[in-house]
Subunit: 243 residues, 2 copies
C-alpha cells in the first residue's frame, strides 16, 4: 500500500535536542494548516508568505525561517494536503472490505470530501495540478506523483474487485480508474465554478451506472441502487444524498 502512509518525516537529527524542537514543530504544523487552507482556495502561488504570516499574526521572517524558500513551503504544503487527503478520504474508504464495496467507497467519500469542503477550494490536487501543469519543477513533479498514486489506488481497487469476482474482468483497471477520476474532477469543476451541488448526484449516477454494468452477481449488491432514471427526482438515493 503506497498511499496510506505518513510522509512528513519528523527528522530527529540529534536525540538530545529533540525536546527543543517541540514548539517549533507545533507552529510549523499550524503554519501548514493555514497554508493548505489558503492554497486550496487561492492557489499555491497565491499562497504568499506575507499573507500567510498575517493570517497567523507572525512576522514574515519568523515564518520564512521554517522553510528557507517559497518552493520548500509549497512542497511542505502539498505534503500536508496529502496527509489530510489520506486521512479524510483514503483511510476511511479502506475500512470497507476490498472489492466493489471499497471501490465505490473511494468514489463516494471522494465526492463527499469535496462537498464537505475538507479543502476550502474543493479538490486541492485538481487545483494544484491545473496551476502547475505548465511549469516544470519540484512542485509539479510532486503533485503529479501524488495524483498518479491516487489513480493507482483506484486502479488497484478495480483489479481487486475483479480478483474477488465482483467485477467483470474484461474491463481494464487503468481505463476504469481514468473514467472514475474524470467524473470526480468533473463534479469538482462544476461545484467550484458554478456552485452546482447537483453535480455530485450526476457524478454518482454516472459512476453507479458504469459500475453496475460491469458488476457480477456477487458485486451488484455492494453498489447503491440506480435512481429510477426519469423525471421524478427520486429522493435520497443513499440516505444522505441531497441535490
Amino acid at each position: 500500500m503506497t498511499i496510506p502512509g505518513k510522509s512528513s518525516g519528523a527528522r530527529a537529527e540529534r536525540a538530545s535536542a529533540g525536546a527543543r524542537r517541540a514548539h517549533g514543530e507545533r507552529t510549523r504544523q499550524a503554519i501548514l494548516e493555514a497554508a493548505v487552507d489558503i492554497a486550496s482556495a487561492e492557489g499555491l502561488e497565491g499562497l504568499t508568505i506575507g499573507r500567510l504570516a498575517a493570517e497567523l499574526s507572525m512576522s514574515k521572517s519568523g515564518l520564512f525561517a521554517h522553510f528557507g524558500s517559497k518552493e520548500e513551503l509549497q512542497l511542505a504544503t502539498v505534503e500536508a494536503a496529502r496527509d489530510i487527503f489520506v486521512r479524510e478520504v483514503v483511510l476511511p474508504a479502506f475500512e470497507a472490505p476490498k472489492g466493489v464495496a471499497r471501490l465505490w467507497c473511494l468514489c463516494d467519500v471522494w465526492l463527499e470530501h469535496v462537498r464537505r469542503e475538507v479543502f476550502r477550494g474543493g479538490c486541492f490536487f485538481a487545483a494544484a495540478a491545473a496551476e502547475f501543469d505548465g511549469r516544470p519543477g519540484a512542485v509539479r513533479d510532486r503533485v503529479a506523483a501524488i495524483m498518479k498514486e491516487w489513480l493507482a489506488v483506484l486502479g488497484r481497487s478495480v483489479a481487486e474487485a475483479q480478483a474477488e469476482g465482483q467485477l467483470d474482468s474484461s474491463a481494464e483497471p487503468a481505463q476504469l480508474a481514468f473514467e472514475l477520476n474524470a467524473l470526480e474532477m468533473g463534479a469538482n469543476w462544476a461545484y467550484q465554478l458554478h456552485g452546482d451541488r447537483q453535480a455530485f448526484a450526476r457524478a454518482r449516477a454516472a459512476m453507479v451506472e458504469r459500475l453496475r454494468r460491469l458488476a457480477t452477481e456477487d458485486g451488484l449488491p455492494l453498489l447503491p441502487p440506480l435512481k429510477q432514471s426519469k423525471a421524478r427526482p427520486s429522493r435520497a438515493a443513499r440516505g444522505k444524498a441531497r441535490t
Copy 2:
C-alpha cells in the same frame, strides 16, 4: 445557436476616424494573440503586462493603453480565446449534420484541439476556470458563462440526437453533457499533467461506449466502432489514434 457568434465588437464610433483606428486594432489583435498563448500556458494571472510587452517588443505603457486595466486585458484575452475556440472546435463540428454525428464530432474535435495544442496549455477554459473559481469578479463570471455555453451546446446536441431518433430519449441531456464534458476535462488533465497521450484514447473509448449504449439503430452507424476491448492493443482503431 448562442455559441457560434462573434463577440469582440469592432466598435466604429466616428465614421470619419475609422481608418486611423485600423493600425491600433491590428496591434490590439496581435497583443491578444500573444496574450492567449501565454495565459493558456501560465494562467491569466501569470499573464503579466511586462512579460507580454517584452514578448511583443513594445513598451508596457503603450500596450497598457489598449486596455486600461489588467482585468480588462484578462477579459479581452478570455474573449479572444472564446473566438478561437468557436472557430477551431464549435464551427467545424457544426458542419456535421445535427444528431449523433454532430454530438460525436463535438467530442472528437474537442479532444483533437487539445492534442493539436491549439492552446499551448491545453484547454484554455479548464485552466482559467481552475484559476478563477475561487475569486469573485468579472473574469470568473465570464469564464463560467462561457463554459455554461459549452455545456449547453453539448446538451442541446444530445437533445437533437434524441429528437432525430438516434439516441434513446430516456437519457437526460444535461446529465450526458456533464459526463462527456467530464471525460474531456479528464483527458486534458492527464495530458497536461502527465503528458499521457493515451488519455485521449481512453476518453474516446469511454465516450463511444457510453454513446453506443444509448444509440438507436439509426444512431449506431454514426458512431465509430468499439475497440475490441481486451488485452491486444488493437492497432489504430481510428486510423490516426496512437498511444
